[in-house]
């Protein structure tokens, strides 16, 4: 159980790293460096720096990798901000579209979360086994937890894909300015309201 959990964690972390690097690759910052040096040199230097940083924090490798991935993703995600585009006056044509970037960023986040979850499950299983628990019970807990967590991931993924689709179709909707403002305010109110509702319930419960 432990070995294939470790393999899965490594695979998730590696995919997240590769995807975040792809996101970085299609950013003006990286392209500037490519223009200044050569593509191979920049590729090697960037990866070496990232791997050295990950190596330094090898004891908490997943956290360090999450930071590295966030740094890699940041230019690509921020590039799709209207504010940033206006400030730096960047041409959007030659880079990844917002939908692909959003999807990739979402997948990266979810893979990193899944790796962290696997790590926690592994630690929990070890704790239980060292405490004297039956191995069959631990495996049952482990598999059931994974099933529920997969269901959670699927739900979140579907929700986010729905939102990305909405983001894709929304600009094509022709509506009056007032209606757009009303829609925006309603959306913000709904989201923030749901957060405060949940927070309030939590605090009340405990």
């Amino acid at each position: 159980m432990k070995y294939w959990t470790l393999s899965l964690r490594i695979a998730f972390a590696l995919v997240a790293y590769v995807m975040s690097f792809i996101l970085l690759f299609y950013t003006p910052v990286y392209q500037e460096f490519v223009y200044m040096f050569s593509i191979t040199k920049v590729f090697i230097i960037t990866n070496i720096i990232a791997l050295v940083i990950i190596g330094i924090g090898y004891k908490r490798v997943l956290i360090v990798e999450s930071i590295v991935c966030t740094v890699f993703c940041a230019p690509s995600v921020l590039y799709h901000s209207k504010l940033v585009r206006q400030i730096f006056d960047i041409q959007p044509a030659q880079y990844l579209s917002i939908q692909i970037t959003a999807f990739m960023f979402l997948i990266i986040a979810m893979f990193l979360m899944a790796a962290a979850r696997l790590e926690r499950l592994e630690k929990g299983s070890e704790e239980m086994l060292s405490g004297g628990a039956c191995e069959a019970d631990v495996i049952l807990i482990w598999s059931n937890s994974l099933k529920i967590y997969s269901a959670f991931f699927a739900l979140v993924l579907l929700l986010c894909i729905g939102l990305i689709s909405l983001g894709f179709f929304a600009p094509h909707i022709t509506a009056s300015k007032q209606l757009l403002i009303i829609m925006m305010v309603t959306g913000i109110t709904l989201i923030v309201g749901s957060v405060f509702f949940l927070y309030g319930k939590w605090v009340k419960k405990h």
Binding site: V77, L78, H80, S81, K82, L83, V84, I98, T101, A102, F105, L106, A109, M110, M113, R120, G124, M128, G131, G132, A133, C134, D137, V138, L140, I141, N144, S145, I148, Y149, F152, L155, V156, L159, C160, L163, I164, G167, I188, I191, V192, S194, V195, L198, Y199, K201, W202, V203, K205, H206
Partner: protein
């Protein structure tokens, strides 16, 4: 858990605010993840509402006797893994089964049985009431700890070390008995005590006519009778050292525990031989049980012994004067009048209590028979504790050296009493007593 809620809420709000401030749709979309975690955390409840019904096979067990504990666990609500641990007091040892289990609670209520056997290594009263549980959330990263309390306790009595009379070529009796058997009640012996005034009910044959006639000349017309000593129960006084010196050894195997076992076994032996036994502690607690006989007296001693386990000198108020052996013997002197009791001291001899034991024995010698050529009726049971802490060969060697040194130091005391060295790691108390008698012969 509130920390987890705050963290998720902060992450969500930061992403959302960042998304709106920078007009970034990606950040707004991804902010759904912490929101979903919050929602799942709230609506998908952890396993809780745990009810535990605990039963034990016996409410009183002897040291090293197995005790079966059965738990019936009901989990009525929530979903996810739950760890259940039935707390076992420090001095207990798990013999079979497990007091820990992990369970997966699905959507249906769960019922589970847990049973295990434990044995206690030291005497006392222990509470077996707490069952701890830890429930992990199936999606979010937090746990809920809880406990269920049952009202259960178990009384662990000291082990009774069977002391046997050994009859053989070299030894007749391994355990010394008191020499004196004088008391105010019981059958009349041939030993003259005094002349006293006649009381109604006295047999006529006991009237001392010569003395009565002499008294008549002095004007006293009331007859006088000869009073003889009465045969009563032989008396044993057990002095138990409860000072810090006795707290030597590990949590499970320590001198105090063995001393309790020795006192209990000696009490049982002497009471079984129709003796009257008194019990006194010194150096820590000031427990005193007046001399008595029968099973009731044994139970009284046992009850006090179990209390001694938990009340060391440290818990005593500084105002309470801690009596040493000599003071303890002196304070009981009125009980020794007319008796020649056997004194038993249960202690652990070391250089620190050399003077205390010597003075105590000297004081005891005043109250017990001291015939020329015979040892006084004082028995010292010295529990050799260094071996209890020895784990490897070098430590065993060191403990042997220390014991040998103690033997040399205690030579002066050994001359004045029956000295019994008992190493609980090597031999039984009977063995130690027998060895001593054989050596003396």
């Amino acid at each position: 858990m509130p920390k987890y809620i705050s963290e998720m809420s902060i992450v969500f709000l930061l992403m959302l605010c960042g998304g709106f401030l920078l007009a970034n749709n990606i950040l707004i979309i991804v902010s759904v993840i912490p929101l979903c975690l919050l929602a799942f955390g709230y609506y998908l409840k952890t396993s809780n509402d745990v009810i535990v019904k605990k039963t034990i096979s016996k409410s009183r067990v002897a040291v090293d006797e197995g005790l079966e504990v059965n738990l019936k666990i009901w989990i009525n609500s929530g979903i996810g893994p739950i760890e259940i641990c039935d707390l076992v007091p420090a001095h207990f040892e798990l013999v079979s089964g497990s007091n820990f289990c992990v369970l997966w609670k699905g959507f249906e209520p769960l019922e589970h049985c847990l049973s295990y056997t434990i044995k206690c290594t030291t005497s006392g009263t222990y509470m077996l009431k707490t069952t701890l549980w830890k429930s992990r959330h199936v999606v979010c990263n937090y746990n809920i700890d809880g406990m269920y309390v049952n009202d259960l306790s178990v009384e662990v009595t000291p082990r009774l070390l069977q002391l046997k009379k050994v009859r053989g070529m070299t030894a007749v009796s391994s355990v010394p008995l008191p020499e004196g058997a004088l008391a105010s009640m019981g059958m009349t012996t041939q030993e003259f005590k005094e002349i006293r005034q006649y009381y109604f009910g006295d047999p006529f044959k006991s009237i001392n006519w010569k003395a009565t006639s002499r008294n008549l000349l002095r004007g006293n017309i009331w007859p006088v009778v000869n009073e003889f000593e009465k045969e009563g129960k032989k008396t044993v006084w057990i002095f138990h050292d409860t000072s810090r010196i006795m707290a030597f050894g590990s949590n499970i195997k320590n001198v105090k525990e063995y001393s309790i076992e020795a006192v209990y076994s000696l009490s049982e032996f002497y009471l079984g031989h129709n003796c009257s036994v008194a019990f006194h502690t010194y150096g820590g607690n000031n427990v005193f049980i007046k001399q008595g006989s029968g099973k009731q007296q044994l139970y009284k001693i046992l009850r006090e012994l179990m209390k001694i386990k938990y009340s060391g000198p440290a818990v005593l108020s500084p105002r309470v004067h801690i009596k040493n052996l000599e003071e303890s013997v002196f304070s009981c002197r009125e009980f020794f009048v007319g008796l020649r009791p056997l004194f038993v001291i249960v202690t652990r001899f070391c250089t620190n209590n050399f003077n205390e034991i010597l003075k105590g024995i000297n004081t005891m010698s005043k109250y017990t028979m001291l015939r020329k050529g015979y040892l006084p009726s004082i028995m010292v049971v010295n529990i050799m504790g260094y071996g209890l802490m020895a784990e490897n060969q070098y430590e065993i060697l060191a403990s042997n050296v220390l014991e040998a040194m103690n033997r040399v130091i205690s030579n002066d005391i050994r001359k004045n009493c029956i000295w019994i060295d008992w190493d609980p790691t090597k031999e039984s108390l009977t063995g130690a007593l027998l060895k001593q008698v054989v050596a003396a012969k």
